[in-house]
């Protein structure tokens, strides 16, 4: 066994790649990569092994970066990433995903989805999502009107879920031609005239349960939810979490009953870890109960925030969890969240963390 773990870290000022052996205690670091472009999401194409990074530059616009040599050299493109010359310009890329049939999907701001069939060299607009009949009613969250979480169905290439802030979850079952809102049961407390609208929910992140493609967990502006019917309906599982609010969520790679969230204080109360006590919360029973995990994390004066893509898990046993903060600290656990160590506290503002096992 010679497995190693890479953490791909997207920051306001470029990408960083950290690497450790399976113990996940001592890390090397490379960066900044991608020429200082703000990176909002990083993934690895499971087929080619390419590292993909999505983001944008205030000067030079949106881009998807690709490295086929482990992050040593990079290319970038946004060719075709436009709604047309009479439409708003695409500002930046917020999310990336690969599909079972070998394509790459990119979620952008203003909210929309683009698809690449050539490894990211050129992009085509997935018009069905942007042309949804509810589009005139879509409104931005604090981070803008953005398409973020993208989850292709693991076995059905015609199905994909996308999260749009602050609009909600959408699903296509026909390869992107048409989309349906999937927000039944999700609260929108900021809309007191209709707390359960068809769209207008502020989805922050969602993930598939391991081995159960019809079970999803959702981190929302207003609570945490689980769907057992492929997103048709959602049940709230906020339960004993200390607050309704937070951005990040990751699901266990093998146990469909386990996931992790990082609750934050209410939007009007700072959006940092409640009581300035750093903690990750884990459920082992599909959200029936949550347990605070803070061994090794600062329990006072920790005014930390963690954004939607800034927590990740690897696939080793036990599973490793890592999260990055808005103030540049990167933490990891090599024991499924039982204990934590700080890897570094000197990175730029962290937007994205991805954990990948290589070798073996």
């Amino acid at each position: 066994m010679n497995e190693r773990v890479r953490l791909l870290v997207g920051t306001k000022k470029g990408a960083f790649i950290l690497e450790s052996d399976a113990a996940r205690r001592d890390w090397s670091m490379r960066g900044p990569l991608c020429e200082g472009t703000a990176i909002h999401d990083m993934i690895v194409d499971p087929v080619s092994g390419a590292i993909l990074a999505g983001g944008g530059s205030a000067w030079y616009g949106p881009s998807v970066w690709r490295s086929d040599d482990g992050g040593t050299t990079w290319s970038h493109s946004s060719a075709g990433m436009t709604y047309g010359d009479d439409q708003p310009a695409v500002v930046t890329v917020w999310s990336l995903a690969t599909t079972p049939d070998g394509a790459i999907l990119a979620g952008v701001e203003p909210a929309g989805l683009f698809r690449s069939e050539d490894g990211g060299a050129t992009w085509a607009h997935v018009e069905g999502l942007t042309n949804h009949p509810t589009r005139p009613t879509w409104g931005p969250g604090a981070g803008g009107l953005i398409a973020h979480t993208i989850i292709p169905h693991p076995t059905d290439p015609a199905r994909t879920w996308v999260g749009i802030s602050a609009v909600g979850v959408f699903e296509t079952r026909d390869g992107g031609a048409s989309w349906e809102p999937r927000n039944v049961g999700v609260r929108a407390e900021f809309n007191p005239e209709d707390r359960f609208p068809v769209t207008g929910q502020c989805v922050h992140k969602f993930a598939l349960a391991a081995g159960e493609p019809e079970t999803l967990y959702q981190r929302n502006h207003c609570g945490v939810y689980r769907s057992d019917d492929g997103s048709e309906t959602w049940q709230e599982i906020t339960g004993n979490l200390p607050t309704d609010f937070g951005f990040s969520l990751v699901a266990h790679p093998r146990d469909p009953a386990t996931c992790w969230v990082i609750p934050l204080s209410a939007p009007e109360e700072g959006r940092f870890m409640p009581d300035a006590h750093a903690a990750v919360w884990r459920t082992r029973d599909r959200g029936a109960a949550w347990t605070r995990s803070d061994d090794g994390l600062p329990t006072h004066d920790a005014y930390l925030s963690v954004l939607r893509e800034a927590m990740a898990r690897d696939t080793l046993d036990p599973v490793g969890i890592a999260f990055g903060t808005g103030t540049g600290q990167l933490w990891n656990s090599a024991d499924e969240g039982d204990s934590w160590r700080m890897i570094t506290d000197t990175l730029p503002e962290i937007w994205a963390v991805e954990a990948v096992v290589i070798g073996g």
Binding site: E35, G36, A58, W59, Y60, G61, T73, H76, S77, S78, A79, M81, T82, Y83, G84, D85, D86, Q87, P88, A89, V90
Partner: protein
């Protein structure tokens, strides 16, 4: 033929690209299209939907502020500069 001077932060996106280029084109937009032929992808870094120059990109033709439609006289010198912005 115009002389085009590109900023360091832009040529860093295209390793091996020179800062100084000699390019044919009657307008700034045409010059950028010509540049894109020798540096594929460069136009997308400077031009957004509209088409128009990206909001934080400034172009000067012989020292005067320009947009994509600005005429480029023969022997003109074109500076492309990123705005002083960021944090």
């Amino acid at each position: 033929m115009a002389i085009v001077l590109l900023p360091g932060s832009l040529i860093a996106l295209f390793p091996g690209t020179a800062r100084r280029h000699v390019v044919e084109g009657g307008t700034v937009g045409a010059v950028i299209v010509a540049l894109d032929r020798s540096v594929p992808g460069l136009r997308d870094r400077l031009v957004e939907a509209g088409p128009r120059l990206r909001p934080h990109i400034n172009v000067f033709v012989d020292g005067q502020p320009a947009d994509l439609a600005t005429n480029v006289p023969p022997e003109a010198t074109i500076h492309v500069l990123p705005a002083v912005s960021g944090g």
